[in-house]
């Protein structure tokens, strides 16, 4: 390996890197080590990408009876892309996905931050409470969907506790369906925010915090001036992670409401699923998928470049 590669490694957290001047047998072993991952990536990225590109400019559906490689027989130029630009159902689904992100992610963030703040210091029972609070994010999302499906039934415990009649519906109501889904998402993923933010908060040097306290800073001042600035990276990681995952949301919604009533809780993933299996519009879904892929890649590249510039 060259020196240039070696200096690249010093940017990792531990300055010790890999061996300089790996002999040929080592290179060879490294090649075999990377091969499986490389083949898997090739298998799932390169080939599907071209297939998706190909199918997206046709009218191919699995119903036609022609195999996918003959899809050029129903070549359609950019019709799918023109359709998706003006498809109200697609834009509605995108808007609802954005709505969930706008409401759920900040809610999870603030709740997680508040909880993390309570867990900075040691106190009796901390470990037990910590474990309890982490449980939701370990539960299979589909099971969380079932749990909230059961809770929000007309004859479920929520209505009983709130003193509402059994015909007061949550999951089949135009407005409350979305609220129920968002509540479920917040319930499941606040623990993740809590976990990450607490790890970041505990990473703040305790002597700095102690010094600030001794100098007479109020709790709020210490939090805003000492803790928050030192948690910036952690906060960004937590928010990015949750936003990306929130955009994918499917299991929870599909089990709770199937996107209904009507299209009231139909997010982008639920919409794509219904197009794929309900309407069998595979080439249309391929076009939408490819567009999402490109847009997200551009956003990610811009984001990474921005981060690199900030650090450099």
């Amino acid at each position: 390996m060259t020196d240039q590669a070696h200096t690249g490694a010093t940017r990792t957290i531990r300055p010790q890197g890999y061996w300089v001047g790996v002999a040929r047998d080592g290179q060879k072993m490294g090649f075999w080590f990377i091969l499986p991952t490389f083949l898997l990536l090739l298998f799932i990225v390169i080939f599907p990408f071209f297939m998706q590109l190909y199918l997206s400019v046709t009218w191919w559906t699995p119903l036609e009876g022609i195999p996918w490689y003959s899809a050029w027989e129903v070549f359609s130029w950019f019709d799918n892309y023109l359709t998706l630009a003006t498809d109200p159902r697609l834009w509605g689904a995108l808007w609802r996905t954005a709505l969930i992100m706008i409401v759920a992610v900040p809610a999870q963030f603030f709740l997680g931050m508040a909880l993390a703040y309570l867990f900075i210091d040691q106190f009796p029972g901390r470990k037990l409470f910590y474990s309890i609070l982490l449980t939701p994010m370990m539960i299979v999302p589909a099971v969380v969907g079932l749990m909230f499906f059961l809770l929000f039934q007309g004859t479920g415990p929520v209505n009983a506790h709130l003193g509402l009649p059994a015909d007061f519906s949550w999951l089949t109501d135009v407005n409350r369906a979305m609220i129920s889904v968002i509540i479920a998402d917040i319930w499941q993923w606040t623990p993740l925010m809590f976990l990450i933010l607490l790890a970041g908060m505990l990473g703040v040097p305790s002597d700095q915090l102690l010094a600030a306290r001794l100098l007479g800073g109020s709790n709020w001042q210490n939090f805003v001036k000492i803790i928050l600035p030192r948690m910036k990276t952690v906060i960004i990681i937590a928010l990015v992670l949750r936003t990306v995952e929130c955009f994918k949301i499917f299991d929870l919604i599909y089990i709770m409401t199937k996107g209904g009533p009507g299209v009231q809780t139909e997010t982008i993933s639920v919409f794509l699923y219904k197009q794929t299996f309900g309407d069998l519009e595979w080439s249309y879904v391929a076009a939408i998928g490819l567009t999402i892929l490109i847009v997200l890649s551009v956003i990610a590249a811009k984001g990474l470049a921005y981060m690199a510039r900030k650090q450099g």
Partner: protein, 285 residues
């Protein structure tokens, strides 16, 4: 600085409140699993603990029928349970083995420096946006509704986690130890197999459990790539209602409890490393 008793009481109050909110839906499902039919709804009054606890729901999903129930089930839990176990374990093995090898090559030999980011990109996209070609390919090679087809996709989608997690564990191994072994005449393979792997063994176990949880939790991929023979537990749970007409709350809750247990147990076991795993090694606790 000691907080005042009032502040401490307030703190406990908030934490207990948060725990109550966390436990509320959980408790309802767990107790539901042990409730007989009349207690499934709150029509006859809200009961938190089963008044008349029963194993009927579990008996029903394991045997396909239960005493006192007119309905019966054409598919018991056995098939989906085996399917979930087999595909999760095989997918985990695939992800962990290839991820471990590749991350070692990246960390120690400095090969393929662009690999980490390209692997990470796999997690960026919603699976549904890239599923069309995958489904066409799976159908083309005859992998739909087979154990190896589902394991293959599981291995691929969890590879980024395995790769990044193992990368951080390898980075923590002091290169001096390996250097010493090299100087004593060990081959590269021997250094990796006899020195490094034993050192990262706890990390490897953590990584395997973490990836297993992810695979076990999948719903969407199994929904799309299986039809009957290899339907996994979450998919089976979700389709239980439609297959039997009426709402089978108790049985579904029993299934939910069974599906939820392994991830929670494993998750609590690797609690210390959860942050590292979930943030792709960016944060350590």
């Amino acid at each position: 600085m000691k907080p005042s008793p009032g502040a401490l009481a307030l703190k406990y109050l908030f934490i207990l409140l948060a725990c109550a909110v966390v436990l509320y839906p959980l408790l309802w499902m767990v107790t539901m699993a042990f409730k007989p039919y009349p207690e499934w709804t709150t029509v006859a009054g809200l009961t938190w603990l089963p008044q008349d606890p029963t194993w009927q729901n579990f008996e029903f999903i394991f045997r396909g029928h239960a005493e006192g129930l007119v309905v019966s089930l054409d598919r018991t839990i056995t098939g989906p349970l085996i399917a979930s176990l087999v595909t999760s374990i095989c997918g985990t093995a695939l992800a962990v083995v290839s991820g471990t090898l590749a991350s070692y090559a990246v960390v120690r030999f400095g090969l393929a420096q662009s690999l980490p980011l390209s692997v990470l990109q796999l997690r960026l996209f919603p699976p549904l946006a890239v599923m069309i070609p995958v489904m066409v390919m799976w159908a083309f090679i005859g992998a739909v509704d087979t154990w190896w087809g589902l394991s293959l996709i599981y291995g691929i989608v969890t590879l980024p986690f395995a790769f990044w997690l193992m990368k951080t564990f390898f980075e923590e191994v002091p290169v001096e130890i390996e250097d010493a072994a090299r100087v004593s005449g060990c081959s590269y393979w021997r250094v990796f197999y006899r020195i490094t792997l034993p050192i990262v063994k706890p990390g490897l176990a953590t990584c395997a459990l973490f990836v297993f949880i992810l695979n076990w939790s999948d719903y969407l991929l199994a929904l799309m790539l299986t039809q009957k023979e290899w339907v996994t537990l979450p998919v089976y749970m979700a389709t239980l209602t439609s297959a039997m007409g009426g709402q089978m709350y108790g049985m579904k809750a029993a299934l939910g409890v069974i599906a939820a247990i392994p991830p929670v147990v494993f998750g609590l076991m690797i609690q210390k490393h959860l942050v590292r795993g979930l943030t792709f090694g960016a944060l350590k606790q």
